[in-house]
């Protein structure tokens, strides 16, 4: 057992503690450095993870497994966390609770990373809760703002309910198989297939993870929370914590409960269609950009869920790649929104809806970098070629066709086309609707985060091979046979 493989998590833990402790002794004005510290820690963790790519190991009596899948998702989480941290430097400027903000963010990331490498449902559940609990407070970070508070409340309430459902479901799994180890469950899942409780457990687990992934009808907190939370936190939720739900579902369903494939495939098929359609249709009429992005995030989750239905290595690879791409795209889009919100609020503190579409008017002139990045992100989300979104959709949708799920692919494709409408509308507001407000200087941290995200989005779009390769490798962990 090589503890070095845990180095990223440990680094993050140290970073989180360091941020917390150092923050106590810093004056408000100097707390800015905490953000840099946190970013640095995340960057180191990212570097460590990347450097350990390709190794496979299990640790701590098989409760953790380091493999391509976990590495891949760790990178996703770290990247999202990095974007979150960098963007938050500006957001938390002048706030006396900067240390809490960053350490909560870092801890949440640790939770996500443990979910990615969990090989035991107990680890998975607790890490899952870590990520949730840390983000509850983040969502309500603007505690004097009713929206933020409401967002936190809803997130928390539905989160607890889901945790209970999840735990309830896990208890049945445990009861039928007598173990919490994922490989052991897979070996002893025969019982679950023959008994009706198997289905109950599956649906309960779907509900539990579906809350994080924001699948219809477990999604209802998501638009409210994404809208109400600080935008940077929304980026962490939508881009990071959502992926955590996905990787957890990958592990639990595809690895542990593969015997119950028939049941959960059907569940996911229904939910995928519902989710993408509902998300896209409702997003059409949104005027709050964050809420629109939340619904779009629903739709994207619906696409990724298709991987569960199709269940070929290529589809899973596509889903995994999509997760990474979505991380970049959605985090980037929320951060761009955060920049706009920041700009709007710095002009007038009392604006009711700082993320209203009207505030995006003429953004192309006012904040050119932000507007351009936002354009790239929304087009990527819509699946325009040479972006990450297209590459992922290409792999995912094409594998859907390959596996013979033409109907699903058609629905997904039509949805994808529909989504273009509301994405294009954002672009329209940014570039085509003039405003008399002048150009503003774009806050540097936001810009850096945006540039990183843009680079990520375009890199996956252009230089796809390594990403596709690693996604496929990760998928092989789930289905060892291969195509």
């Amino acid at each position: 057992m090589d503890l070095m493989l845990l180095a990223p998590e440990l680094t993050l833990a140290v970073t989180g503690l360091a941020v917390l402790l150092i923050g106590l002794f810093l004056p408000v004005g100097a707390k800015k450095m905490l953000g840099y510290l946190a970013s640095l820690g995340i960057l180191v963790a990212l570097a460590l993870t990347v450097s350990s790519l390709g190794t496979e190991a299990t640790m701590f009596n098989d409760t953790l497994s380091i493999d391509a899948l976990s590495q891949f998702f760790k990178i996703v989480f770290l990247v999202v966390a990095l974007l979150f941290a960098i963007a938050s430097i500006k957001y938390t400027e002048g706030n006396s609770h900067t240390e809490e903000f960053f350490s909560l963010g870092v801890f949440a990331t640790i939770g996500m990373m443990f979910v990615a490498s969990a090989n035991d449902i107990m680890v998975l559940f607790i890490a899952f809760e870590l990520a949730s609990l840390a983000t509850y407070a983040l969502a309500g970070f603007e505690k004097s703002n009713q929206k933020s508070l409401e967002a936190a409340m809803k997130y928390f309430m539905i989160g607890s309910l889901s945790a209970a459902l999840l735990l309830f479901g896990i208890s049945f799994i445990y009861g039928m198989t007598g173990t919490t180890s994922i490989p052991a469950i897979a070996a002893g899942a025969g019982n679950l297939v023959t008994n009706p409780i198997g289905l109950v457990a599956v649906v309960l687990l779907v509900a539990g993870f579906g809350f994080k992934i924001a699948l219809v009808p477990f999604h209802m907190w998501a638009p409210d929370t994404y809208q109400g939370s600080p935008s940077v936190v929304s980026s962490l939720l939508a881009a990071g914590s959502k992926k955590m739900g996905i990787v957890a579902a990958f592990k639990v369903f595809i690895v542990a409960l593969i015997a119950l494939q028939a049941e959960w495939q059907m569940v996911f098929a229904i939910l995928a269609v519902l989710t993408m359609t509902y998300g896209n249709v409702v997003a059409l009429s949104q005027t709050s950009v964050k809420r629109m992005l939340a619904y779009s995030s629903l739709a994207q989750a619906g696409y990724i869920t298709m991987a569960f239905v199709v269940l070929t290595p290529m589809a899973l690879g596509g889903g995994i790649l999509y997760a990474l791409s979505h991380g970049f795209m959605k985090a980037g889009a929320f951060i761009a929104t955060a920049a706009v919100v920041y700009m709007v609020l710095s002009e007038n503190r009392d604006v009711e809806d700082p993320d209203h579409l009207d505030n995006f008017k003429g953004l192309g002139k006012r904040m050119p970098v932000t507007a351009l990045s936002m354009t790239i992100f929304v087009f990527a989300l819509a699946g325009i070629p040479l972006t990450a979104g297209y590459m992922s959709k290409f792999v995912l949708f094409s594998s859907t066709i390959q596996a013979g799920f033409v109907w699903l692919a058609v629905i997904a494709i039509l949805n994808s086309a529909l989504s273009l409408y509301y994405y294009a509308r954002v672009v329209k507001y940014m570039y085509f609707i003039p405003t008399d407000a002048g150009k503003v200087s774009e806050p540097l941290p936001y810009t850096i985060a945006l540039v990183i995200a843009v680079i990520g989005v375009l890199a996956i779009g252009f230089w796809s091979e390594p990403f596709v390769y690693w996604a496929m490798e990760a998928a092989k962990v789930l289905i060892p046979g291969g195509m």
Binding site: P385, F394, F397, I401, I413, A417, A424, K428, F432, E465
Partner: protein
């Protein structure tokens, strides 16, 4: 060997990016002109070295891109793509010249979008990998969307969104077809590949007839919406009309739908499960578009909208000729694309000029413009004549080839198309008479003729129309070579 195709594709894209950073109109337009002229020179160089007697892809470049999915950076051009690249390369410099003295907001973005469209469109014609093909295909959407949205007419937002989503849906359906082809071939060969020639040749070995038909129809749908033909044309009049002049010309340059028909659809056609049904579908849509577009053009009161509908009518010939399955008709259909590109670009330029000088495009509000704009009148009369298929101008070569060739296999559809010719003449002549001739409408105020740049650009394209009307061989020969190859495929299958 110079990677000439890559250069032709990438130069405009690169210059588009550079143009974005220019500050003044002067810099932007010079930048755009340099890029387009460079493309023209390279294209001419390529054209000179192009062997029009063989139907193979030439100037091929291939590099691995995403090997795990079988995606390559594969460029190459054959007799189908070459004329269309040539068309773009020829028209674009003159389009830049045409807009030389225009004043508009954000000229740097304007020229950048023009260049980006050029690069993307040429990219479609040069791509020999479906992945690349689709990328360029979609890439054409974005600059045009911006073009319409920023500089368009009063209904620009609606038109832009409609165009964007409508054609995007079609593209996605086409993508589904590509996926089907991709995986069917993957299953048979065991290795993934998105190479266009390879996939086209493997289509015939797909076991399931339903699968074949589905793939074929999905691809066909994607292409005919882009062409566009009846009944999938409704994005087109709005988009063409609301777009700024340069945008309309770029739309006209967007011959990717027809290109897809020749490059992809026809090689697949004989191997579908029910080729005769497919031919009937294509021929019927083509013929109906011809007459439907003509009648609608007749009903329009807006000059530009009339031109837009006339485009529906003209593009019907492309589908009809392709369905005719005689080398003359197929090459005629290809030539129709080429000639239509030349003709329509002047038509839209003329509409643009009239709109800016007279302040309206409503035909009945104009009148007697020829007295004040003699140069424009000459060019317009010539172009309208070309558009209505007057012999001696390039449109006729295409139409007569399509009609004569298609009649062999599709007599009844050709008769429908023939009926439309009178209507076509009617709306052209009607519009000319109302707008250009007769008593000058004094309400229009002071009218000045087209300036030197506009005369130059429109004039040279007009001369090309005449030239290709008398000597189509420079581009028709290579089309013939390729269409004969396509037809020989048909003969093998006995279609």
């Amino acid at each position: 060997m110079l990677p000439i195709l890559s250069l032709i594709v990438l130069i405009p894209l690169l210059f588009a990016a550079l143009t974005l950073f220019t500050k003044t109109k002067e810099q932007a337009r010079v930048m755009a002109l340099v890029a387009t002229v460079a493309v023209l020179v390279l294209t001419l160089y390529m054209y000179i070295n192009f062997d029009s007697t063989i139907a193979d892809n030439q100037f091929e470049e291939i590099y691995q891109w995403v090997p795990s999915l079988g995606i390559n950076y594969h460029l190459g051009v054959d007799g189908i793509g070459m004329p269309l690249i040539l068309l773009n390369a020829i028209v674009l410099p003159f389009l830049i010249l045409f807009t030389w003295n225009d004043d508009r907001k954000a000229p740097n973005r304007f020229y950048a979008l023009i260049l980006a469209t050029e690069g993307a469109v040429i990219g479609v014609f040069a791509a020999l990998d479906f992945f690349l093909f689709y990328i360029f295909w979609e890439l054409t959407l974005i600059p045009l969307f911006f073009m319409v949205s920023i500089w368009g007419g009063p209904g620009k937002h609606h038109a832009a969104i409609k165009f964007f989503i409508y054609t995007h849906i079609a593209s996605l359906v086409m993508l589904l077809g590509i996926f089907g082809l991709y995986f069917s071939a993957w299953e048979m060969t065991g290795t993934p590949s998105l190479d266009i020639p390879a996939l086209l040749s493997q289509f015939q070995f797909i076991g399931s007839g339903v699968m074949k038909d589905l793939i074929f129809l999905a691809l066909l749908f994607g292409f005919i919406v882009k062409i566009p033909v009846f009944p999938f044309h409704s994005w087109q009049p709005d988009a063409y009309t609301e777009a700024p002049t340069a945008g309309s010309v770029l739309f006209v340059m967007l011959k990717i739908g027809g290109y897809g028909i020749f490059k992809v659809i026809l090689p697949l056609l004989p191997f579908t499960a029910s080729p005769n049904l497919m031919i009937t579908i294509m021929a019927a849509l083509g013929a109906v578009s011809i007459i439907y577009g003509a009648f609608l053009a007749l009903a329009q009161s807006d000059l530009k909208r009339m031109v837009a509908y006339s485009s529906v009518s003209h593009m019907g010939y492309v589908l009809l000729g392709a369905a005719g399955l005689v080398s003359l008709s197929v090459s005629g259909a290809m030539f129709q694309q080429f000639s239509h590109g030349l003709i329509m670009s002047i038509m839209f330029m003329a509409c643009g000029v009239i709109n800016t000088t007279a302040g309206t495009r409503i035909i009945n509000d104009l009148g007697g413009l020829a007295q004040k704009m003699p140069k424009l009148a000459v060019i317009m009369v010539l172009t309208f004549m070309a558009s209505l298929g007057l012999p001696g101008l390039s449109g006729f070569i295409a139409e007569v080839s399509v009609l004569a060739g298609s009649f062999v296999n599709l007599p009844s559809y050709v008769i429908i198309a023939l009926l439309a010719i009178v209507i076509t003449a009617a709306y052209h002549i009607w519009a000319l008479q109302r707008a250009m001739f007769g008593v000058f409408n004094e309400k229009l105020g002071t009218i000045v003729d087209i300036n030197g740049y506009q005369t130059l650009s429109m004039g040279i394209i007009a001369i090309l129309i005449v030239y290709f009307g008398w000597n189509p061989s420079p581009v028709l020969d290579m089309m013939l070579t390729n269409s004969e190859q396509i037809i020989s495929l048909m003969a093998v299958m006995g279609v």
